[in-house]
Symmetry: C2
Subunit: 263 residues, 2 copies
């Protein structure tokens, strides 16, 4: 079954940042020899998972992935659970709420609800959120399977976006431990100075985090009180969404909710 | 590379109609022995393409497919090309316009635009359109790769939905030939008596049909004149969308457009 793993591994190289690959680059980056990479790509093309640009000869994801996503979404709708929750928490906070899925090198936004007020955080749905510089990324890493967490920690570039960005592995480890204990993540201006994020992970039915729910507020109005309110909302949303898709949220998240409700 | 093909083949069994499979059923239907099927499923699960229901032990598509679809859509947006075209042709026709992708046993709706009038055709986005009983399905079959066309023709159940449904293979073959020649498909009440559809295929960059663009009108107002107008619009839309995604539409479609414009 090694070749199945390799094929799915090759698919993981196609990202929003690097959607097209030449054969040599892909083989080099995946550390698979060129002949094998080509054979896998041909099988992926034959089944519609990859297509080749007729001029540049570069490879990109094919239409079959859209079909699978439609089937998954029609039968086990994630967005239809997530969207009403985002609408509700955005309205309660009067700030932007958004949901992300973890990809290999960043979080991908899958849904956004903006508040109806003049100043608001705009989340570009095609923008990737860096793991180390967003509340969503931190919440995901904290509750990701340990092997995924280690892989991310080892491969992170720790790019500095603002003066608040965590740029050291030891510091990130410390924060991730705190988040894991606390159940949710804060990110005060670590990606954009004017934006303050609060996020909680969402869990798949295998019990592992696969994404996050976040509130991204205008930093100047995210007081301690507002942060607490946001934390309560995202933790509640995390539990609700995880359960709606047949998953049990992590005990620390459930405990966090109870503690916050007791305040 | 055989196991890669098998893995992708197994994924194709997950459909809107049959989103969950037990191991034995899946192995039987795919004609792959149970041990191999299980090994492939385990690899698919390990990579997030499939997940297993914790209670029923049944398998379903996993969250990785949503990530791939997001990457494909963010980098080579299909819906962002299709939606404005649907809006435009729906407005011009004052009828419902929709786009579908071909799946293994039917067409899946990926986008719908409804007209602003009291009576309109409602296309349920999670409803599958049968190949033999919808304009979209007929348009797709007519321009699908020959091997796909034969497979569909051989596996169709020819279920009768209305008195206009094509229920014989020979008749379907004849119509498909005509559609291939003409460039677009008509489906006067063959799925629902009150709905009349006109569709043209859309092409991937490998030059093969992968879906269709259709106008679904209230049958009583779809006069010959309106059908002609709809045909002109869907053929134009087919060419526009195919080219926008880097594909060349079939020569018969281009010829159809020129002929209709000359009328």
């Amino acid at each position: 079954m090694k070749s199945v793993d390799r094929a799915l591994y090759l698919l993981s190289f196609f990202t929003v940042q690097e959607p097209e690959w030449g054969l040599s680059e892909l083989a080099r980056r995946a550390k698979i020899d060129k002949a094998t990479t080509l054979r896998i790509l041909v099988a992926l093309i034959r089944n519609g998972f990859v297509e080749q640009h007729s001029q540049t000869k570069k490879y990109r994801l094919g239409i079959a992935v859209l079909r699978l996503a439609r089937v998954r979404e029609a039968s086990f709708p994630l967005l239809s659970f997530i969207n009403p929750v985002l609408d509700r928490i955005s309205e309660e906070m009067e700030e932007t709420a958004h949901a992300t899925l973890a990809a290999d090198n960043a979080m991908i936004t899958i849904a956004v609800t903006e508040p109806k007020r003049a100043t608001r955080v705009w989340v570009n749905p095609s923008q990737l959120l860096p793991f180390h510089a967003s509340a969503s990324g931190l919440a995901f890493i904290a509750f990701a399977p340990p092997s995924v967490r280690e892989e991310i920690l080892e491969s992170l570039d720790f790019e500095r976006y603002t003066e608040h960005t965590i740029v050291e592995k030891a510091e990130l480890r410390k924060q991730v431990e705190e988040i894991r204990h606390r159940g949710f993540a804060f990110s005060p201006g670590s990606f954009e100075v004017e934006t303050s994020g609060v996020a909680a992970p969402i869990f798949s039915n295998s019990g592992e985090a696969f994404g996050a729910i976040a509130i991204a507020g205008v930093a100047s109005r995210m007081t301690k009180e507002q942060q607490f309110k946001a934390a309560k909302l995202v933790v509640g949303a995390s539990i609700e969404i995880s359960r709606a898709i047949g998953a049990e949220p992590h005990p620390n998240i459930v405990a966090a909710k109870q503690e916050m409700e007791a305040v």
